[in-house]
């Protein structure tokens, strides 16, 4: 069985561990987005560094087309990082490609407009058939599944999206704190997903 570890942390609790280029990226963003980016990237560096017994800031990361971070030098580890709301999430596996996403359930989101644009009219109809109070949660569940799958493929977000993964990919929701929804996707067969909350800086 494939092993996948999913680590969840509160954004404010992650000890920064960026390289200068990442610091420059963060400085160009508004404060809240910068904090989320710093937390996600730092959490990734801490966890992969610990796994490979390397200094987190010595890891050389590059982004593939589509934005997926990978290690510059081949190493038998695949990972995916996401941040949304108050959480940063990292999924890691030594056996398969992974993708992860987390989003807060937000009544502010114009989910009907997004559903129509990203998933299509049939999806919009299915969403409108739901009671109003359930739409934000249901849409967010679709979104994290779709984005986690896109990340697992390494191609980035490709619209139109599908709520269910294509053949060869699997996706499952992961329990996370607060009013958030998260999902992890992977290639291959059955997986044992271990989710843990990182308390304080890793």
């Amino acid at each position: 069985m494939i092993d996948i570890a999913v680590h969840v942390a509160e954004i404010g609790s992650v000890r920064p561990a960026l390289v200068p280029e990442e610091q420059r990226q963060a400085e160009a963003m508004p404060a809240a987005a910068a904090r989320a980016f710093v937390a996600g990237r730092s959490l990734l560096r801490h966890l992969v560094g610990r796994l490979l017994d390397e200094d987190p800031q010595a890891l050389v990361l590059r982004e593939r087309a589509g934005g997926k971070p990978v290690l510059q030098h081949r190493a038998k580890v695949a990972f995916s990082v996401a941040h949304g709301g108050t959480l940063a999430v990292v999924a890691i596996s030594r056996e398969t490609e992974v993708g992860v996403d987390v989003e807060p359930i937000s009544a502010r989101r114009r989910v009907e407009d997004i559903a129509a644009a990203a998933f299509g009219e049939d999806a919009l109809a299915a969403l409108l058939a739901r009671p109003l109070v359930e739409r934000a949660r249901e849409f967010t569940r679709w979104w994290v599944r779709a984005e986690a799958t896109c990340k697992a493929t390494g191609r980035g977000l490709v619209i139109p999206l599908e709520p269910e993964p294509p053949a060869g990919f699997s996706v499952e929701h992961v329990a996370v704190p607060g009013e958030h929804v998260a999902a992890v996707a992977w290639t291959g067969g059955p997986a044992r997903i271990t989710a843990c909350t990182v308390a304080g800086a890793p």
């Binding site: 990226q25 963003m29 508004p30 987005a33 977000l157």
Partner: protein, 85 residues
């Protein structure tokens, strides 16, 4: 409709969606991601801009967008083409 009007609409929705964004930071050569928008933010900004401008962009075109200028040009081009036809 002018490109400047389309840009103004996109800017408005960008600032409504990404907390703390200053209008002066939003230039056509930047990507929304560089300004702190995540994928869901970006799709929301595009979809509500389309609704306000009464423009329907083919969904397959949405994945090709790389910067704000590209989005503005796409929305403007689709809007003017549909007016012309």
């Amino acid at each position: 409709m002018t490109r400047d009007h389309v840009f103004a609409v996109v800017k408005k929705h960008l600032m409504q969606t990404v907390d703390g964004l200053d209008e002066a930071q939003i230039t056509r050569d930047k990507s929304m991601k560089a300004l702190g928008a995540n994928s869901l933010d970006i799709v929301e900004i595009v979809s509500v801009s389309m609704r306000e401008l009464k423009v329907k962009v083919p969904r397959s075109e949405l994945s090709k967008l790389t910067d704000i200028g590209g989005l503005v040009d796409l929305l403007f081009d689709v809007a003017t083409q549909s007016k012309a036809s």
